[in-house]
């Protein structure tokens, strides 16, 4: 179990809650800590309520904890809307500004430890002072972060605003720290000791969210074209790429809709340039027809789909793992393609890179299923231990004696992958086609061509060596959890807690969702007596997907619930104990 400290900073939109939270996380990174910060917003673009939700620890941590140890409220806004996202520990400390009224009952009922700090009044005493900086100084102190790390970060972040802004902010930090010190007895037991952190290693760590990591992984693997249509919560991938693609000779086009963005990617990839677009459920729905085209015409590309609550417009700012069915089964006809998912925030980079290499190697679309919890949560993580994989396409090379019309784009090969030409290559001309076609690409309705091309496209996926990235296996208990995506870290923490209770639980987290790596999964399940499938959905899509393809232990319990509330380790642990109890009764 990870010793850690969880805190929330809340306030109305524009109060600077997110700025304070991000600076706090950054300071923790400089101080050698690990941690993460999720953002919670109301539906308003400006002026709604906001909460920065942090967890700090001495070891890598990518799951939210069950409860918060500290709540700092700049004001109370519409805190009722957040209350169920802010479960407080029984001994949690609440810091409230008396200038913003009484502590709402929904908060006061959860804990008796309240202290009043006039954040706004303290800020007013400082020329140019802002309450969120007072809150930052106070929160950092209560969280046990060294003042120097916070000050260093704030100086750097505000440098472009001029020395007056920096001076005011530093004075606010001091005021906040003194206010915290005045409530010494309110200070919480915190993990972490500045002296134990290795500053060299700590400074090499990455501080990033899953969307940035996804963009970086794609770029590192060779993506040089992106067509973009903005959608929450995927837009940061597109914006990150927009700023960086030109520096490596790539291009980004803002498309008129998702029908255009997917087809622009198809055009670029047909032209030999590795391509990616990012979207969320509604956009993925629009892209589905063209993904089938990419399967039939054998065009490599990656769609990074950052899942949010659905169906329809759903809850754009909240996470769910509910696009699995459409990603795997949504294409009409029989259209083999690849679906992969990162197992964490930092894992978004290598898994996005892997997605690009799979697309290029297999000449087929790959859907990368990220979600809001991965994409928009910022974490402090160790950089990838190994270099990210780079994409390689099997290219057409004309034979010296080949007649100009000899090229067969869709030739049958043992592994199903046919050498691919692209415009500019003499002798490689062909017409890529979504119609059933011959090995040369000429439209055909003959059974031999239809079945032959269906077989060839399926063979590509079946013959590929997916290597060690298909999934992660931790532990060797006779009880197992199978999970994926953003459910992985909460599930892993539940396993760690179970181990601390003397219950050994094996964790299997899949990256390769389709084609399902049945042999690897069944091997990983060897010796497992009972199993639990953990996912963030209402109907158990992942459970049903596994049941469709793999032999699962009996009993296998499907444990799932939908968003908008994040999955937390404690509820998974509770389900594990329930499963264990059932096992004992059965025995």
């Amino acid at each position: 179990m990870t010793p850690s400290f969880s805190l929330a900073v809340t306030g109305s939109g524009g109060a600077g809650v997110m700025t304070a939270g991000q600076l706090l996380l950054d300071a923790a990174a400089l101080a050698g800590r690990y941690g993460l910060m999720a953002r919670s917003f109301g539906p308003q673009i400006r002026g709604g309520e906001a909460a920065a939700l942090l967890r700090l620890a001495d070891r890598p941590v990518e799951s939210p904890d069950d409860r918060y140890d500290l709540l700092v409220a700049l004001d109370w806004g519409n805190i009722e809307r957040f209350a169920d996202e802010l479960p407080l520990a029984a001994d949690a400390l609440v810091v409230a500004d008396p200038g913003h009224g009484a502590v709402p009952a929904v908060i006061a009922a959860q804990t008796g430890r309240l202290i009043e700090v006039p954040l706004t009044a303290l800020a007013r005493e400082i020329p140019g002072g802002r309450p969120n900086m007072v809150a930052l100084g106070l929160t950092a102190c209560l969280a046990g972060l060294p003042a120097a790390a916070v000050e260093t970060r704030v100086r750097r972040a505000l440098a472009r605003h001029g020395t007056d802004s920096v001076t005011a902010a530093i004075a606010c930090l001091d005021a906040g720290r003194q206010a915290a010190a005045a409530h010494r007895r309110a200070r919480l037991p915190v993990s972490g000791d500045e002296s134990t952190a290795d500053p060299t290693t700590a400074l090499d760590r990455w501080v990033l969210n899953g969307n940035e990591a996804t963009g970086f992984g794609a770029l590192a693997a060779g993506v040089r074209f992106c067509a973009a249509y903005p959608i929450t919560p995927a837009t940061e991938i597109l914006e990150w790429l927009a700023g960086r693609l030109p520096s490596v000779g790539g291009r980004l086009v803002q498309a008129e809709d998702e029908l255009a963005s997917i087809n622009m990617c198809i055009g670029a990839a047909y032209g030999g340039v590795p391509a990616l677009t990012a979207t969320s459920g509604p956009g993925l729905s629009l892209m589905i027809e063209s993904l089938g085209l990419a399967v039939a015409a054998e065009i490599p590309l990656v769609v990074a789909n950052v899942m949010r609550g659905g169906p329809s417009t759903g809850i754009p700012t909240k996470s769910e793992q509910t696009d699995l069915n459409i990603a795997v089964y949504g294409l009409h006809g029989e259209a083999p393609h690849v679906v992969v998912a990162p197992t964490g925030i930092a894992d978004c980079a290598p898994t996005a890179a892997w997605a690009v290499t799979l697309a290029e190697a297999l000449q087929t679309p790959v859907i990368l299923l990220s979600d809001q919890a991965l994409g928009q949560t910022r974490t402090i993580a160790d950089p990838p231990a190994t270099a990210l994989p780079a994409a390689r396409r099997t290219a057409f090379v004309p034979g010296p004696t080949d007649p100009p019309t000899a090229y067969r784009r869709y030739a049958h090969t043992p592994d199903g992958v046919s050498p691919m030409s692209c415009p500019g290559m003499p002798g490689g001309q062909y017409t890529a086609d979504g119609l059933t076609h011959t090995t040369s690409g000429v439209p055909s309705t003959r059974a031999e061509d239809h079945v032959g091309q269906l077989d060839k496209r399926r063979r590509k996926l079946e013959h590929h060596d997916y290597g060690a990235r298909w999934g992660e296996v931790h532990g060797d208990g006779a009880l197992a959890i199978i999970t994926w995506g953003s459910a992985t870290h909460p599930a892993r923490e539940a396993c760690d807690r179970a181990a601390a209770d003397g219950l050994s639980v094996r964790l299997i987290a899949l990256r390769l969702l389709s084609p399902l790596p049945v042999a690897q999964l069944e091997a990983a399940l060897a010796g497992v007596r009972a199993c639990m499938i953990v996912e963030h959905s209402h109907t158990g899509q992942f459970y049903r997907h596994l049941r469709a393809w793999a032999e699962l232990p009996r009993p296998t319990l499907a444990w799932h619930r939908p968003g908008p509330l994040p999955l937390r380790p404690g509820e998974i642990l509770e389900a594990l104990h329930h499963l264990q109890a059932q096992q004992e009764v059965a025995a």
């Binding site: 400074l203 067509a227 000429v442």
Partner: protein
């Protein structure tokens, strides 16, 4: 491609036999396209023809250049992605009036605005031929030749040239499939235009719109190239739909047209530098190293 080889129009045709009905206007368009490509002496491997779905969208397979036959309505996005990613190529999008103006209508508007360097050649026969004769966006409101709309579509026809001009296209022309030589000249000019070039081609469907055999008597080469957008709008006020020629050719820097994308730059930042943006060290800044 050996530079000394002189390419003839037939060198741009494939061995695949068209599915088109005998007498279809699209044969004339294919002939004009191969003539234009031969006239420009473009190496076949440096040309890509991209289409959607419909009778006319079958055209790429009948050429010897690179082809792409995609889904209904999306020829322009595919062509745009290809043209932006590969500015060294000659990219031509083709298709029919249903593909381009109905299911793909939004892309038409935005391709006119975006001004990527590509040619859009629409074979307009005012009917959905491949699905056996339904009214298309350019059918007259009272055309009652389809069982789907027995009293006619009842809505005003789409006016491609006016819409292209309004949406910001910099090259707008109309041709006729029955005049392959004139059409080849227009096409060559469109292909050489350094931006988005739109060419509507009246291309009769003799199966579902046999009355279009009369097009030959109706068309007249009446457009004189205009460089002034206001003048082009005024000219269209008296357009009967059968006037052919180049209507409007904007200077490349004309307002309403986005600049052509810049050339690909060299890789100026290594991936290690990009990864460095994520490091905690960056959060304290260079100045803090000394303090």
């Amino acid at each position: 491609m050996n530079a000394t080889v002189v390419l003839r129009p037939k060198d741009y045709k494939s061995a695949t036999k068209p599915v088109w009905c005998p007498g279809c206007g699209d044969f004339g368009v294919l002939n004009a396209l191969t003539k234009a490509l031969a006239g420009l002496a473009l190496a076949p491997e440096r040309v890509a023809v991209v289409s959607g779905i419909g009778c006319s969208s079958r055209l790429p397979a009948y050429t010897s250049v690179y082809g792409f036959h995609g889904v209904h309505g999306r020829a322009l996005p595919v062509a745009t992605g290809l043209a932006v990613a590969r500015p060294d190529l000659t990219v031509i999008a083709t298709g029919g009036d249903g593909d381009g103006f109905s299911i793909g209508g939004n892309h038409f508007l935005h391709a006119c605005r975006r001004n990527a360097r590509l040619t859009y050649l629409v074979m307009d026969n005012a009917v959905y031929g491949m699905t056996k004769g339904q009214a298309s966006p350019t059918s007259a409101a009272d055309w009652a030749g389809s069982k789907l709309t027995p009293d006619g579509p009842g809505i005003a026809p789409f006016r491609p040239l006016e819409i292209a001009l309004s949406a910001g296209a910099g090259f707008i022309a109309r041709g006729f499939s029955g005049d392959p030589n004139g059409l080849a000249r227009l096409l060559a000019e469109a292909i050489e235009y350094p931006g988005f070039a739109f060419l509507q081609v009246l291309s009769p469907c003799i199966t579902y719109r046999p009355e279009q055999l009369e097009y030959k008597a109706l068309v007249s080469a009446g457009f004189e190239p205009l460089a002034d957008r206001n003048a082009a709008f005024r000219r269209l006020l008296t357009d009967d739909g059968f006037t052919t020629g180049l209507l409007y050719r904007a200077p490349v820097s004309a307002g309403g047209s986005a600049p052509a994308p810049a050339d690909l730059t060299d890789e100026t930042a290594t991936l290690a530098e990009l990864a460095g943006e994520f490091t905690a060290a960056r959060l304290r800044g260079a100045a803090d190293h000394e303090s």
